[in-house]
């Protein structure tokens, strides 16, 4: 593997770049979390100082936790995100496979049709969507959110996945067909494992806007039982809010779960990327 000698200076330079960029990437997050544990005066006097015995305060967290059932909100966010992702990946990969694998009349047109969704913000369709949900009795259910996010995540998923699926070797699939595998088996057992890196990428891309969305939870599921974490914590981020303890704590509480989630997922993701790639 390491037949080639690497210049130690290069290695050092590379790591210097990485460390510098890590600081740039994490600094703002650290500032928020750090200050959420300080008293209001300390936040403004020394925003960069670590909380010490004098300036340590949990007042913000107390205010935030009083406001609602954060564990319940977290659960709702999890359900919505995970279930939507599952459908986006399943339906998206199936459609992407159809588009990239088969030549049929209207293939390009279908591709374009499915790409329209990434060109218009879905928010513009809010009123119709709400009417559909009212008509089907889905208002204030997590199902409503899952359906909307699945629909809005599909175009991007199909767009990315079909690009990756075009790179899958044709010989492999033909070999499968000669062995008598059905098209479904070829898709699920040959192609899907090969595009795992792309699936992981699409999952991460879609997870972010779903988790962070404020608009559709507000419109479709603002009831106490169906509130998502982002909606639950937005109470503190209005125009007239000066209680920065509460704001920073609310923000931290919204950051931490999604960060943990990503760190957990990222291991799977990378395993998926690497194992899928070496073929």
């Amino acid at each position: 593997m390491n037949k080639v000698k690497h210049n130690p200076l290069n290695i050092l330079a590379v790591h210097a770049i990485l460390v510098i960029y890590t600081v740039i990437a994490l600094f703002p997050v650290v500032v928020i979390i750090l200050n959420s544990f300080k008293t209001r005066k300390a936040i403004f006097r020394e925003p960069l100082a670590l909380p010490n015995a004098d300036s340590f305060s949990l007042a913000g967290y107390e205010t935030v936790l009083k406001q609602g059932d954060y564990f319940g909100y977290f659960q709702n966010s999890m359900i919505v995100t995970v279930v939507s992702l599952f459908f986006i990946l399943l339906f998206g990969a199936m459609a992407a496979f159809a588009l990239s694998e088969y030549r049929f009349k209207g293939n390009t047109l279908m591709g374009l049709y499915l790409a329209i969704g990434i060109m218009i913000p879905i928010r513009l369709g809010t009123v119709s969507i709400l009417q559909i949900m009212v008509a089907s009795g889905l208002v204030n259910t997590l199902t409503a959110l899952i359906l909307v996010y699945t629909a809005s995540g599909l175009p991007l998923a199909i767009f990315i996945l079909s690009e990756f699926m075009r790179q899958v070797s044709a010989d492999l699939k033909d070999a499968g067909r000669i062995d008598g595998l059905s098209e479904y088996r070829i898709f699920f057992f040959l192609v899907l494992p090969l595009v795992r890196p792309a699936l992981a990428t699409v999952a991460v891309f879609n997870m972010i806007p779903i988790w962070n969305d404020l608009w559709f939870p507000l419109i479709l599921a603002s009831g106490e039982e169906t509130k998502t974490l982002t909606l639950g914590s937005q109470v503190f981020i209005g125009q007239f809010v000066t209680d920065w303890n509460a704001v920073l704590s609310g923000l931290s509480m919204a950051i931490l779960p999604v960060m943990l989630l990503y760190i957990i997922f990222s291991k799977q993701l990378i395993r998926g990327i690497t194992s899928g790639a070496v073929k």
Binding site: R40, K41, F44, Q67, T126, V127, S128, L130, Q131, I132, M133, V134, A135, G137, V139, L214, W215, L218, I219, S222, Q234, V235, I237, G238, Q239, F240, V241, T242, W244
Partner: protein, 417 residues
């Protein structure tokens, strides 16, 4: 079409359903006042529920930036709450015209409000009033008493005094003279232009002349406030161009600024956060002995969603919102939001009482552009955010700023063409 039918079918069934189970009804309030959540939960709603068993009330606020858009979507989709918190003038008038709000003129509680209070939520001819007025807010200046003593200055009575005070603070160097920024824009307009302006255009007199088309925005009385704002720029903190509204509030309550151009709604927050004595003064007049005018803006009210299945119970709640009990509770829970009712509301907060007493010595006026003049595009109430900021930053001369407003208005408003 199918959806419309389905929706109405669904609504009908839910109406029937609610009559069948007329035992306990839950009313939902739509509001942009997310800051008031705890006050509603802990004080106002328990008071109502105790007196009205069988009606539960839920206060469900949305962040101010999303309130209008979210409310409109919910109204169209038929999922909005029973009670709608009303913004003044055209914001709510449009809802009434579209059939989303109900005429409430026959509520008994409406008799507790005068014409001025009702004007914010009535049709132009006054035939219908569709929201029960809750509160008005008054503009002026809040100051740090200790800082004033330290530097040895008095509350200013005239504009010249005002700038003398600012100069004293600038020379002293320990305090930022004026705590305001232009990043969020609206403070420059409401706490700047609308705050100091009525002294120049003589309050309602000037405002009505503008609506009638007998004065222009380029006339001296409408340019003068911009000219004063242009002088403010040098007394604001470093980098005020990127200073946000919460920045300004925190600068003042942390004792780093001397004067805060204010709306009275700041009081409850400031009381909780500032650890020094505060005072307040109304906008200084141009010349000693001039009559003073204050901006006393009708700000918030509550109406009934026309599609509410619980209209009867909602009306009970609205009667209560118009009652003396509510007037006292609300004004004292939220010092700085002044009751619009005819009741004699006593406030425990001395500063709030002081501010509301300005009404006795000065003439009240609502913000200049909210009635009628923002009905077209571009609306003045949005346009003057930008011009007020530009005046402060000296990006536009006062005359240019006024000219832009006049052009904007004349582009769609017939009496000004």
């Amino acid at each position: 079409m199918i959806i419309k039918t389905l929706v109405s079918a669904l609504l009908t069934t839910s109406v029937l359903g609610s009559f069948a189970a007329a035992q306990e009804v839950t009313l939902t309030i739509e509001s942009w006042r997310n800051d008031d959540l705890t006050i509603w939960q802990d004080k106002l709603i328990p008071a109502f529920e105790a007196a009205n068993p069988g009606i539960k009330v839920v206060f469900a606020p949305t962040a101010p930036a999303q309130y209008n858009s979210a409310l409109n979507a919910k109204l169209e989709g038929g999922t909005a709450g029973d009670l709608i918190t009303c913004r003044p003038f055209d914001g709510s008038l449009t809802l009434y015209d579209a059939g989303n709000l109900v005429d409430l003129k026959d509520l008994d509680a409406m008799d507790n409000f005068g014409d001025v209070a009702r004007s914010g939520w009535s049709t132009d001819d006054g035939a219908a009033t569709f929201c029960v007025p809750m509160a008005s807010v008054i503009h002026g200046f809040i100051y740090n008493k200790e800082a004033f003593e330290e530097v040895g200055v008095e509350v200013p009575a005239t504009v010249d005094d005002f700038f003398a005070v600012l100069d004293a603070f600038k020379a002293d160097g320990n305090y930022i003279p004026l705590s305001m920024g232009t990043a969020d824009q609206w403070e420059a307009a409401t706490m700047g232009y609308a705050n100091i302006g009525p002294n120049y255009w003589k309050g309602e007199e000037g405002r009505n002349a503008l609506i009638a088309g007998t004065t222009k925005l380029t006339d001296p009385e409408w340019v003068a406030p911009f000219a004063q704002l242009a002088r403010w720029g040098q007394y604001l903190g470093d980098g005020y161009e990127a200073q946000s509204y919460p920045d300004s509030q925190n600068l003042f309550t942390l004792g780093r600024a001397a004067i805060y151009p204010a709306g009275s709604w700041e009081l409850s927050g400031f009381n909780a956060q500032a650890d020094f004595d505060m005072g307040a003064f109304y906008p200084p007049v141009p010349n000693a002995g001039d009559e003073c005018y204050i901006s006393d803006h009708v700000d918030i009210a509550m109406g009934l969603n026309a599609a509410s299945p619980n209209a009867a119970q909602a009306k009970v709640f609205l009667e209560w919102v118009g009652s003396e009990e509510f007037a006292n509770l609300y004004a004292n829970s939220l010092p700085g939001f002044f009751s619009l009712s005819n009741f004699d509301v006593k406030m425990e907060d001395p500063l709030a009482q002081e501010i509301v007493d300005w009404r006795k010595g000065c003439k009240s006026s609502i913000r200049p552009f909210h009635q009628i003049l923002s009905r077209g595009t571009p609306g003045l109430a949005t346009e003057y955010w930008q011009t007020s900021v530009n005046a402060i930053r000296s990006v536009q001369t006062p005359e240019e700023a006024a000219g832009q407003l006049q052009d904007a208005l004349a582009s769609w408003y017939e009496p000004q063409q």
